[in-house]
Amino acid sequence: MTTEVQPDSARSHEHGSGLAHDANAAPTQSEQHEINSPARRKFLSQLSIGLGGLTGALMGLPVVGFLIAPLLKRPPQQWQPVGKINDFEVGKTVEVTFADPSPLPWAGVVAQTAAWLRREKGDAFQAYAVNCTHLGCPVRWLQDASLFMCPCHGGVYYQDGRVAAGPPPQPLPQYEVRVRDGNVEILTSPLPIGSPKA
């Protein structure tokens, strides 16, 4: 590569007119020395890297914040009606469905949740999660066998949610149920998987 700055050449004079310093005022030796100082270069590198990192953070953090926002929000739990008390036969377990407390407007069918509701006697109801405690697959109720069975890895539960066979580590989780004014209501909860503390 040839040197770019040749002050005595007319062509390069034109070419150099866009540079920051006037070509007529060539840098003095001390100025030149300062420009080439390693300490200055190091500072400029660090400054650029620092500013770049800061810009990256300014651009990236809002995205990260938006993505982890659901971790910080706790949607309210709500009592949702699932039917009239007389719709449920004593000793039977049936599927009931209820809506999320505050679904997004475009949620569609996924705003609905199912549960297995059992009427023990009178006002005594139990609502079991449909999610197998092994890995969350939907368990099915076999009325004649009085068992819940999971299609994924063969988990089996008794009618009271206790594990009867297979890999599930825990009984089927339960939702809170109450009877109000003849309506059976279920308290919504986060997806019942993972540790029961959730």
Binding site: W106, Q112, L147, M149, A164
Partner: protein, 476 residues
């Protein structure tokens, strides 16, 4: 002619193609690199298929939990949409397949050794993000299986200590599968992960150019980090051929064949069918992952229950750790697989293990046979009303979901076709009432009469009809 030449000269001068890009294409590569070297480029081309077909699909896919399923129906019923979906599925399959082959080949010829450790590490990361793409892609097929697969993924994440519940909320984008869940997976599948894939591919290819394509190994020619680079340089000077076109033509030919197969499969077999709608209240579900994760589905069924928490979380970390550590544990010495019997053995073992798990995952003998019907009379062969009633109970009480009689029923529990030969009335009664390993206790859900009927049905399951006096003691 002259005009075109002059135009090219002008473009070449202004772009610097001959000075910068051409040397990259012409770089000398080892002469012996033959067909086993095409897997990497095939993986890359499969990725390009995914990018193109993915862009095509995104032009009609609606990222909304209420409409994604309908938009997929629309895509699937349009001839080109169906072809695109098919190509995206078979392209994904090809990408997973070829990245596996590429990895096995690189491992077998120990191309990860000095100085190509980072080639390997960037490749391991590419494997991870490719599997990430495969998983998130399956979820965008927003049907019933997709929804339950998200729940299964979240349930696995939930097993992580301390951060488990946080991970679940991150995956679901909330407390439950809801409106935000699909958009999140869409963003990951279409923007975040591909950005990482592009970056890693850039790094991976740069490293291939920087270190050169590794030469086919020879027994008795170990890698010595002190001399390797000089030796490799001289080796290429002596025996190298320009990458383009001497080596590249095989990559091109293999990739063209692969793309032809992808398009062919997409046209003939098409994309995987959409399951039922993504309604979490439809509990008649049978969630299964696509083939690339079916073996892991089997792992989850088969690991001992008390080790699950550890295996679900630690096994993937451990596998990743081993892959990462590999080039540091062994970065010099023999490269040929013929002098590395353990390398060959581990590839054979991994392939056999995954293959076996695949077959099991496909059969899923641990899953209840929900579709089982009442046993047909010719199988029941009832000699009395009790046996006949017992056969009905055998179906109604769910026995058939896990046990087989003849060709009917599940495979979870022991086959009961000849159980009458094995177990006495007392033994059968005890097992039914008290249950056993992986068998529910029916004590609470059978009346004494039902129990008698069920036992007499099971007692009648013998090799030869019990009425034959000559076989009276066969049951011993």
């Amino acid at each position: 002619m002259g005009v075109i030449h002059r135009m090219w000269d002008w473009i070449d001068d202004r772009t610097g193609f001959s000075g910068t890009i051409k040397p990259l294409l012409d770089h000398p590569s080892p002469a012996g690199a033959k067909w086993s070297y095409v897997f990497g480029s095939a993986t890359l081309v499969a990725f390009l298929v995914q990018v193109l077909t993915g862009i095509g699909l995104s032009s009609s896919f609606v990222t909304s939990t209420s409409q994604a399923y309908d938009s997929l129906q629309f895509i699937s019923h349009d001839p080109f949409g169906r072809l695109l979906r098919g190509m995206h599925y078979w392209g994904a399959s090809a990408m997973v397949l070829f990245i596996g082959l590429h990895m096995a080949q690189v491992f077998l010829i120990a191309a990860y050794k000095y100085p190509r450790e980072l080639n390997w590490l960037s490749g391991v990361l590419l494997l991870a993000v490719t599997l990430g793409m495969a998983f998130t892609g399956q979820l965008l097929r927003w049907d019933q299986t997709a929804v339950w697969s998200i729940v299964v993924a979240a349930a696995q994440a939930a097993r992580a200590p301390l951060i488990g519940n946080g991970l679940v909320r991150f995956i679901l984008a909330g407390d439950n599968v809801g409106g935000a869940t699909l958009s999140r997976f869409f963003a990951f599948h279409v923007f975040f992960i591909p950005a990482i894939v592009f970056t890693l591919i850039g790094l991976h290819l740069f490293l291939v150019l920087y270190h050169g394509i590794s030469e086919p190994p020879k027994v008795g020619r170990p890698v010595d980090p002190k001399t390797y680079r000089k030796w490799y340089h001289e080796h290429l000077q002596r025996e190298g051929v320009p990458f383009w076109p001497d080596a590249a033509w095989r990559d091109v030919a293999a990739s063209v064949a692969m793309v032809a197969v992808i398009v062919g499969l997409a046209a003939i077999i098409g994309p995987p069918a959409l399951e039922k709608p993504p309604d979490p209240t439809i509990l008649e579900a049978y969630p299964r992952p696509d083939w690339y994760f079916l073996w892991y589905f089997a792992v989850l069924a088969l690991i001992p229950n008390n080790l699950e928490d550890y295996i679900i979380i630690l096994a993937p970390l451990l596998a990743g750790g081993v892959l990462f550590a590999l080039p540091f544990i062994s970065n010099k010495g023999e490269r040929s697989m013929w002098s590395r019997p353990w390398a060959m053995a581990s590839v054979v073992m991994i392939v056999m293990m995954i293959g076996t798990l695949w077959i099991l995952g496909e059969k899923a003998p641990w899953s209840p046979a929900f579709a089982a019907k009442y046993l047909p009379p010719e199988v029941v062969h009832a000699q009395s009303a009790g046996v006949s009633a017992g056969a009905n109970l055998y179906h109604e009480k769910g026995c058939e979901n896990c046990h087989a009689v003849g060709a009917y029923g599940g495979a979870r529990g022991p086959n009961l076709t000849y159980v009458g030969d094995r177990l006495t009335t007392e033994q059968l009664t005890t097992r039914i009432l008290n249950g056993g390993y992986n068998m529910p206790a029916y004590g609470g859900s059978l009346t004494p009469q039902q129990l008698d009927e069920l036992v007499s049905f099971l007692q009648s399951r013998k090799r030869l009809p019990a009425s034959n006096p000559n076989t009276a003691d066969v049951g011993r």
